[in-house]
């Protein structure tokens, strides 16, 4: 089976990290899986990328990946952004594993800010890059205090934040990093995914792992776990909806990004999940602009505006 798979660059240990570090991270992962939503500190290592480029997620991926795994890397749903491409190349070089853009063919999917549209299955692992693991940090800057709040399940303050949203905007205006309760016990930051993706975390057959490089924290959601988005009885949690379908594939189910077409204010909405969109188009689905030259000129993510979120 040697010919099928390229060997990795043997200047490095398999998956870059040394075996002892990987074991240490795996122990943290097991603990995180045993206590869903709980932030486990770990002795993070330096990775050959700056913090803010997914070093936490990379350490998790490096610790769970095996030579026969297939890896997919996405950044806000796209496989072809600089961040996704450089992480994918890095793992190709230090593991020699196969990579894919097809969600259903991946064993491990490392992601920044999205959950794929195609439902995940048992045996898959979704690795999230985490810029700020502590959902209470903006409300309570003291680490000693947030630790107690988690320990004692004192989460009223999170509802104060949602209350403030409604008081100011008439509805819960938080659209990403929307806080969730995991397994009815721990308050958890879902990372800056859009709240559109929150329901996908619930009862997901895949393993969901979260790595925060700068803060050196790991947390996890085991398969088939209860994940609830916080809300009020009279202001229930709702996901984003769009009045239009994807301009390229016509999907009305997916998360859409706004793409600016020209200087005169022209714009269209397309799937943020590039693989999902391409697959639908290949299967014959099309949207309003699918046949236009504009659409051909634009790869689905080409004109995508860089979001203002903190990088993971």
């Amino acid at each position: 089976m040697s010919a099928a798979r390229p060997a990795w660059d043997e200047a490095y240990n398999f998956a870059y990290l040394d075996e002892q570090t990987k074991r240490m991270i795996r122990r943290a992962l097991l603990k995180a899986l045993a206590v869903p939503g709980y932030q486990v500190p770990f002795g993070g290592r330096e990775m050959p990328l700056a913090y803010g480029w997914g070093t936490g997620g990379m350490q998790v991926t490096a610790s769970v990946i095996g030579p026969s795994d297939t890896l997919k890397v996405i950044d806000q749903g796209a496989d072809d952004t600089t961040n996704a491409v450089s992480i994918r190349r890095f793992f190709q070089r230090v593991t020699g594993v196969n990579t894919t853009e097809a969600t259903e063919q991946a064993d491990i999917i490392q992601t920044r800010h999205r959950i794929p549209e195609v439902p995940l299955r048992e045996g898959q692992i979704l690795v999230y890059q985490v810029p700020q693991p502590e959902p209470l940090r903006k409300l309570e800057p003291r680490e000693t205090e947030t630790r107690k709040m988690h320990g004692f399940g004192e989460y009223g303050l999170m509802h104060v934040r949602l209350y403030e949203d409604i008081a100011r905007f008439g509805h819960i205006a938080t659209t990403y990093s929307y806080p969730v309760m995991v397994n009815g016990r721990y308050l958890m930051s879902p990372t800056p995914i859009p709240k559109f993706d929150n329901p996908k975390m619930r009862n997901n057959p895949a393993i969901q792992l979260f790595g925060a490089g700068r803060e050196k924290r790991i947390y996890a959601i085991p398969p088939y776990t209860r994940v609830e988005s916080l809300d009020f009885e009279d202001h229930p949690f709702e996901v984003q909806r769009w009045p239009h379908a994807c301009a390229l594939c016509g999907s009305r189910e997916s998360y859409l990004d706004e793409v600016v077409l020209d200087d005169s204010g022209g714009r269209m909405f397309v799937c943020s999940d590039t693989h999902y969109c391409a697959t639908r188009r290949a299967a014959g689905h099309s949207g309003a602009m699918a046949e236009g030259s504009v659409a051909r000129a634009l790869a689905p993510s080409a004109g995508k505006q860089e979001d203002s979120h903190e990088r993971a």
Partner: protein, 269 residues
Amino acid sequence: MSALEAVTAPRAAVRPLLRVCGLSKSYGETVGCVDVSFTLYPGEVIGIVGESGSGKSTLLNLLCAQLEPDAGTVEYDVGGEGLRDVFCLPEPQRRRLMRTDWGLVHQNPRDGLRMDVSAGGNVGERLMAVGARHYGAIRGEALDWLSRVELDGGRIDDRPKHFSGGMQQRLQIARNLVTRPRLVFMDEPTGGLDVSVQARLLDLLRGLVREMGIAAVVVTHDLAVVRLLADRLMVMRRGRVVEEGLTDQVLDDPHHPYTQLLVSSVLQV
């Protein structure tokens, strides 16, 4: 039988709310408070007076478990089920007490309010902490409390950093009383306010405390405050209680020379 015991004798049938025994705390060489004991009954307001540095805030912080004593005990009637040493309670339970059954009004509203959260959110925080999950109901309750402390309901979405000192103090009171605590600790509740604002705040506090039957421990160096609010009085000097009794008796007929000095100096003002 001491004068104080004689006074409290008719209450013998009522169970104490708070019992303090031999409470001492020092900061290295500096005396905080020494061997303080007293008992507080439901609905009773006790004043603690004394000059600056006499140990009033130290005592108050020990009582509400913000500080650990070197010696002595603080017992509280947790959940109406009898006295329990608050320092032996599991921490989550003590913290729960802090945001339900107790109130803590700080001298500086900045310490007792969330300055970047709206007035409504400040009042609603305790309700949400004990599980309120209906926005409309929380807001209704917040509006009700704003009016009870004479704040304009139209300011409900404004942040307290835009409020005057007196308004901030009233908001702090509303934020504490919304869970109908049985015991409120106040450190110089009218300190730093204009005299006319002080007087109105005192009237308001007295009305609420009486109406709700709240017990309170009020620390102040202002004898006018205790005259108006407190049923009983403790006079502190260098960390020790040098005189105690019914407020009017202590103020009108002080026995300890230090109390006499305090009273006479206030009369000169």
